[in-house]
Symmetry: C2
Subunit: 199 residues, 2 copies
């Protein structure tokens, strides 16, 4: 019963998402998820505290992933340029090929207020981790806090637009539009992002 199950987490995640989509989040039980994945309920609980957490797999690793990303960043970037670099890098790696999976996940989350609230908590965790990395690079507390939240605002807005789009446009392009719009807003030059901004 305690033997190692290769890919158990991924199998449970896929099984859960299928069942949530087919029969609803509230209607799905942990034994059903485990059975669909060909695993025991006991194995389920070795990997996840409850069925909700299956949709938030990997959240524990967020701070260490962001720290690793920041360690790879070019050293001289100013805060927003560093954020843009980090978000573009993440878009090009972690999110590549994930659009259909993420659309399915979002569809489930949208059916349940509690899941939506949990998703927001994930964004707070991400913003804190980014703020911490910026503080470690010497940014003051207030600017780091705001920059972390703004990074997540821009990224989550880009992801929603990416998932909404009928065509599959590259996430990096959509992200770039958001970063441009942010800059334009902050500079109060007008409502539409100009292609070139000369100060």
């Amino acid at each position: 019963m305690t033997r190692w199950e290769p890919g158990a987490r991924e199998r449970l995640e896929r099984a859960a998402l299928e069942l949530f989509a087919q029969q609803g989040f509230a209607e799905t039980t942990v034994p059903e998820i485990a059975a669909r994945a060909g695993l025991t309920t006991r194995t389920f609980f070795r990997h996840y505290a409850d069925k909700r957490e299956v949709l938030f797999a990997g959240d524990d690793e967020i701070p260490s992933r962001i720290a690793a990303l920041m360690a790879d960043a070019p050293p001289d970037l100013k805060p927003m340029a560093l954020i843009a670099w980090g978000l573009h890098t993440t878009a090009d790696t972690a999110f590549a090929g994930q659009r259909e999976h993420m659309r399915a996940r979002r569809a489930v989350i949208q059916t349940d207020a509690g899941l939506g609230e949990r998703e927001l908590r994930k964004q707070v965790t991400l913003a804190h981790a980014i703020a911490g990395a910026l503080r470690d690079r010497g940014l003051d507390e207030l600017s780091a806090t705001l920059a972390g939240k703004i990074a997540i605002t821009v990224f989550s807005t880009a992801i929603q637009r990416w998932l909404d789009d009928d065509r599959e446009r590259p996430l990096g392009d959509i992200l770039g539009e958001g970063l441009d719009a942010l800059k334009t807003l902050a500079r109060e030059e007008g409502a539409r992002p100009p292609s070139e901004t000369v100060c």
Copy 2:
């Protein structure tokens, strides 16, 4: 039993906050809240769906309040200036004299992950309402979405700092620091807000 109870909402809110602080959110029941307020359980449920919603009284009115605020705004402000005006106006009116009440409310919310997630959902509602008001004034969809979220980011960060502070500094001053830090970040001029920014 159905007679009008003057100030019932406010009495229930005060009673709930007292009980949550004294004995914990999870441990407090609706009949206890109603009894502390000198009202019936039935009256409680005429005003609130459950004990959690007492902490989020007035959320339904957010869109109409923001619309009313925007209707009063000077007509020629660009988006971020409009946001700064709206946030400062809100800080000076709705939040004046509320610091101790809000500290007590926050202390309760911090004890329960579900309450924290509900608080985040409230921020999303606020951001949507601001975005809608900006779209109504002609701002494009993406910029309005980002600006609504950034407004709430700056405001909620200011409120946290206001509540954290040992001294009671005016919320408007703390808010101004956040708006300056945002501008500096977006302009990438450095990590600290300069007192005067000449472009």
